[in-house]
């Protein structure tokens, strides 16, 4: 729709203001990655001002959660610009979870500050023993008298290096619940580490971390399903953006790079390989549109399918982009390598391709 087009343009302007990787300007990305947090606070503030961070949440909090297609268009723009800021991990994932499962007080004190960029929140759910089983949580809550404490270990806490708050999943009598935990709370040991895309994730050791009833999110594991669906669709859209960036860059390159006396794009093998990549881009776009159009009941399945399909298609196109760029493709100097590394991280959003395919299948 027209609003969506305008919105996309707005997002593009906003993300471009932070250096347009799409135009091959990696300066912003490099500078952002060089920081301890792995992203630029200034750009994060700009994203907050532009309303991008609020897009995933409901209108009550200034968002447009009902217009799923708008979010996917925005995430595509985020991917196409190789935005280093944690839009997916913080705004989409933590934002949606707080929006659907947070208490009014939590939304007031945590979500709202997060949306304006004053507070960083990360979901701490994954555990190594779970692999990609979202229902497998060994971190547990124990109660002595009226003191509640959380013990356990979390891994792959995305954007966790700069988080002020964690949303920690823990097993209790009621099942699996989510708890807001301050990063500086006693008993929280954070170990930050770099991921392939230069972002900073964290592992958490939780030893007798005290929480109160006020820290508990209203919604339980079931509310995670909604988050997973939105996150997978958003990840698929961001991957689509990265994929089109790499495809276009490669198309330009093969038209200009001369070997054996002519542009390599005039070689039939290169032409057919680009045609194959083009087909993947078009098909991936259709999958993202499907996820955008799917009725709520079918959305989790559509999102799982879109994420699995786009992840495989995008990685295939990225490998083609590296190969056709030759030596330049394997350096850190082009968007190609940065895009490939970002895709690797996005492809594991709430499970790998096999996990998404199995969810897609079972939901059918």
């Amino acid at each position: 729709s027209e609003d969506q087009a305008m919105l996309k343009a707005a997002v593009e302007r906003c993300v471009a203001a932070g250096g347009d990787a799409g135009a091959g300007d990696l300066g912003h990305r490099r500078a952002a990655r060089a920081t301890a947090a792995g992203f630029s606070a200034a750009s994060w503030a700009r994203l907050a001002e532009s309303g991008v961070l609020a897009m995933p949440v409901s209108a009550a909090h200034g968002g447009m959660a009902d217009d799923r297609m708008a979010l996917l268009l925005a995430m595509e723009a985020v991917g196409r610009a190789l935005v280093p800021e944690p839009v997916l991990d913080v705004a989409v994932i933590a934002g949606t979870l707080l929006d659907v499962a947070g208490s009014p007080a939590q939304q007031e004190t945590v979500l709202v500050p997060m949306l304006v960029g004053r507070l960083m929140v990360s979901l701490a759910h994954a555990e190594r023993a779970a692999r990609f089983d979202l229902g497998h949580v060994e971190t547990s809550l124990s109660q002595r008298g009226n003191v509640m404490t959380i013990d356990g270990a979390k891994t792959a806490v995305m954007a966790g290096g700069a988080a002020d708050r964690f949303i920690v999943s823990a097993r209790c009598n009621a099942g699996i619940c989510f708890w807001l935990v301050r990063a500086d709370a006693p008993g929280v040991e954070r170990r930050s580490y770099r991921l392939a895309d230069g972002s900073v994730a964290a592992e958490l050791m939780l030893r007798g971390v005290t929480v109160t009833h006020a820290d508990r999110l209203a919604g339980g594991l079931d509310s995670l399903d909604r988050v997973v669906a939105v996150a997978r669709a958003a990840a698929a859209a961001e991957m689509l953006g990265v994929m089109t960036l790499l495809f276009d860059a490669t198309l330009d390159y093969v038209k200009t790079r001369v070997q054996f006396g002519k542009p390599i794009g005039s070689f039939q093998v290169i032409q057919h390989r680009m045609a194959d990549a083009y087909v993947l881009v078009e098909q991936a776009r259709s999958q993202v549109v499907r996820a955008g159009l799917a009725p709520s009941a079918d959305f989790p399945r559509a999102a799982a399918g879109a994420k699995a399909f786009v992840a495989e298609a995008a990685l295939s196109v990225a490998h083609t982009a590296v190969q056709l760029h030759g030596g330049m493709g394997i350096t850190d100097e082009l968007v190609i390598g940065h895009g490939l590394k970002r895709l690797r991280v996005l492809a594991l959003t709430f499970g790998d391709v096999a996990a998404a395919i199995d969810d897609y299948r079972r939901a059918a």
């Binding site: 039939q268 045609a275 083009y278 087909v279 999958q287 799917a294 399909f309 199995d358």
Partner: protein
């Protein structure tokens, strides 16, 4: 994509379902399921065509002023999806989808009056004279000559891979009317009566044992000048229009999705746990994701057609994906069926009383001939290699 349907579209879909339930007899459904090819034999094909013509739904790919239904792209999509679900025999594309639209677009009023209605009534069956022994993917190099002789052309040469030439009353063909200009420029589009001494048809038997295509020898065959479509030398333009039409404007995803769904059921019916094997389930899921993507890609293209844009090179993408997927489904079907999938009955047709009792299941009896015949999908109508070159040149500008 029920997700996108309006109330009116849902009502239309129910109309189609009702009509199919009432007017598509079981023996035609059996005939369709017993046909290991996209081309059905006239015995079942024409009966179904007449039923659709009586309903007024036959010419849905034609412009309204030639008897078209004026359906929206979504309606065409829904119609074809419901037909696939109901095992309706495939309509022969030769008259309805290939030469019909060409006559409607490029033909004179006389030609339209002379030919179009007889296509719908099935009084005339058609075949396509494009490929030649020396000119397969490389159409421009065709050698068949048509020499002007008063109000007629004397045509010499030959055509090959001519589907259903052994049934056809007429052939639309490309012939070289001017050998002295550059290859594409000297070609004209002629309608040639198959019922004449100068025309000889030799059957070509396919790998599966089916007689579907032929070689056609033209020795002083006659085509009337009044049956030339367009001007002399305009054949190449018309041929390209026809090929893009062949590739575009109809939906391949529905039948792919139906096959994928049935393959899941077929696997569940096998012993030995293949239906639970992760190798199988993920291959099937990947096919389904690809087909669902194609479904939307096709709807996006239909949307453009609705806005009056010609099919164009985009259709190469659909041909490429659909033909590749069709073959992947065929192979996965063989894998699911195991030993039963090895049977290949020599009898034809594989429906009716002459059809031998299948080994294991009807699906098993159809799997191997379908797989073998469908290898043609990536070859005819422009091979995959040709499609990729079209995409690279015209879409990507390489």
């Amino acid at each position: 994509m029920d997700m996108t349907l309006t109330a009116a579209e849902l009502a239309f879909r129910d109309d189609v379902r009702g009509f199919l339930a009432a007017s598509l007899p079981q023996h035609l459904r059996d005939g369709a399921r017993g046909t290991p090819s996209v081309f059905v034999e006239p015995d079942i094909g024409l009966e179904w065509q007449r039923a659709l013509h009586a309903k007024g739904w036959l010419a849905y790919q034609w412009p309204t002023d030639c008897g078209g239904t004026g359906w929206t792209p979504v309606q065409r999509y829904l119609f074809e999806k419901e037909c696939a679900l109901a095992d309706a025999p495939a309509l022969s594309v030769l008259g309805l989808k290939l030469v019909g639209p060409v006559i409607a677009r490029f033909g004179t009023p006389e030609q339209k009056a002379r030919f179009l209605d007889r296509i719908l009534t099935a009084e005339d069956l058609w075949c396509q004279g494009y490929s030649e022994p020396g000119a397969g993917s490389d159409l421009a190099s065709l050698k068949t000559r048509a020499v002007r002789d008063g109000d007629r052309y004397i045509v010499n040469g030959g055509k090959i891979w001519t589907t259903h030439a052994h049934y056809a009353d007429w052939m639309f063909c490309l012939a070289r009317t001017d050998p002295d200009v550059k290859p594409q420029a000297g070609i004209s589009f002629l309608l040639l009566n198959m019922r004449q001494p100068g025309v000889t048809v030799r059957p070509i038997i396919g790998m599966a044992g089916d007689h579907e295509v032929n070689q056609v020898f033209l020795d002083d065959a006659v085509a009337l000048v009044e049956n030339r479509i367009g001007d002399e030398g305009q054949g190449w333009t018309i041929a390209k229009y026809l090929l893009e039409n062949e590739r575009g404007g109809s939906c391949t995803a529905p039948s792919l999705l139906v096959r994928i769904e049935r393959l899941g059921a077929l696997a569940a019916a096998q012993s030995g746990g293949v239906a639970e094997d992760a190798g199988f389930t993920r291959r099937l899921a990947r096919l389904q994701m690809e087909a669902e993507a194609l479904e939307l890609t096709e709807l996006r293209l239909l949307g453009e057609l609705a806005q009056g844009r010609p099919p164009g090179p985009q259709t190469s993408l659909i041909k490429l994906v659909a033909s590749t997927m069709m073959q992947q489904i065929d192979e996965l079907t063989l894998d699911v069926l195991g030993n039963d999938g090895l049977q290949l009955a020599g009898e034809r047709p594989l429906y009716g009383n002459e059809c031998p009792e299948p080994i294991g299941s009807k699906a098993a009896q159809m799997a191997m001939p379908t797989y073998l015949n469908n290898r043609a999908w990536t070859i005819f109508g422009g091979s995959n290699e040709v499609q990729k070159t079209i995409i690279a040149r015209t879409v990507l500008g390489l």
